[in-house]
Amino acid sequence: MNPEILSIIQAELDGTASPAEISRLDAAAAADAEIRTLRGEYGEIARAVGRMAVPVVPHGFATRVMAALPPPARARVPARDRIRAIVQSIVPSHRQQVALAFALGVLATFMVTLTVTDWTQPDSDMVSGTIRVPSGATVPFYGNAGVLEAAWIDGVRRITVRPREAMSLRVVVSGPVAEPPAVEVEVADGTLTLERSGGDVVLTTELAGVVRFSVPGQSDIRIRVESEDEVLVDWTPVPGEP
């Protein structure tokens, strides 16, 4: 088989053969049965490939795909690029960026003492107490969200309160934010329980581990422990304050 004729047969399949080449092929096929057969076979193969059955997508495929998708943030610009874009919009100068990184590092090292007050009413079940939040807070930024991790110390702190059925740990965010902040509260290994100790009802906080929350930008942070109708703890970290 003439390689050139074979090449023209293939080009004809792809629609790239010139009219002159087609004419030459026609002439060759008219004179040679083998060329005619080969031309026909290749044409039939190509057509048959085009007619192959379309594989049917398994039922529920799209649903499974959507269920497996990561959180929406990952569909956007990678975190590294988001962080870079935000930092550059705040401090375009490289020197200022270095200074910002240093300042954040300093901010990250502070200790806050949480003081519960106004629980000294006679004949009340409430007493004052202290929840200490040691150092270790860090402020990394993820896109428009900042994460401040405050590690509560291990162990139990007793705050005697009037009996309540429900207690809650709530993070309140305020400050210069462009839109309502999205706040997630996660209390790792944290429990708030009520129990009787002698004649008192004792609120036992076992917030061992990490209280983690996400707030946008440079918002102020307050942490409140509330009962149904009363704020028991209202805390705002102040850098450097013991």
Binding site: L6, S7, Q10, L13, D14, T16, T37, G40, E41, Y42, G43, E44, I45, A46, R47, A48, V49, G50, R51, M52, A53, V54, P55, V56, V57, P58, F61, A62, R64, V65, M66, A68, L69, P70, P72, R74, A75, R76, V77, P78
Partner: protein, 182 residues
């Protein structure tokens, strides 16, 4: 499926609209699954690969350049994922050539539908890259330029390798006694 509609769906997805991405999955689910089936053979592996393709598309959507057709971009990802899956297969997991059906008589004519089935099986005997070339040209009916982008090779290489792939496919059919009636 227009290219501008695809670009709009991509933009909406990047803005957080998951329904837009669902629309892309609905549009291209068959295509992606088809690629996986053609390269791997139908089965759970193909569905796994197809699902992974969409996850990869979702996570890398910000890197899509609208100057390319979305179809070509997602096809390229699907082909790469499928080829990677083939390469990671153990030898005895390969498609069993005995699945190829042979007619009772090596010279018996093959009805059109049977030929398509036979060709589908014969394709599985080709190298995955050759298989992809034949599929892209004759099943997806793509021009050399698009094939070159998807396969990440030059157009001249598309042409020469496609020629070789077609020859190989014909050879497999002939070896199996599949008569291609013209």
């Amino acid at each position: 499926m227009s290219d501008s509609e695809d670009r709009q769906l991509v933009e909406r997805t990047l803005r957080g609209d998951r329904t837009a991405f669902k629309a892309l999955v609905d549009r291209y689910g068959s295509t992606v699954y088809g690629v996986a089936c053609r390269v791997l053979g139908p089965g759970p592996d193909a569905e796994d690969v197809a699902q992974n393709v969409f996850l990869k598309v979702y996570e890398n959507l910000a890197t899509y350049r609208p100057s390319f057709r979305f179809f070509s971009w997602i096809y390229r990802i699907a082909l790469n994922e499928s080829m990677n899956a083939v390469r990671s297969r153990r030898p005895y997991d390969q498609v069993d050539p005995s699945q190829l059906s042979s007619p009772d008589s090596p010279e018996s004519a093959v009805e059109s539908a049977v030929l398509e089935d036979a060709i589908g099986l014969a394709l599985m005997e080709l190298e995955p890259s050759d298989r992809a070339l034949v599929i892209l040209r004759h099943y997806e009916d793509l021009p050399y330029r698009d094939i070159a982008f998807i396969m990440d090779i030059t157009e001249s290489l598309v042409k020469s390798r496609l020629y070789a792939a077609r020859q190989a496919l014909r050879g497999v059919l002939m070896n199996r006694g599949i008569w291609i009636g013209a």
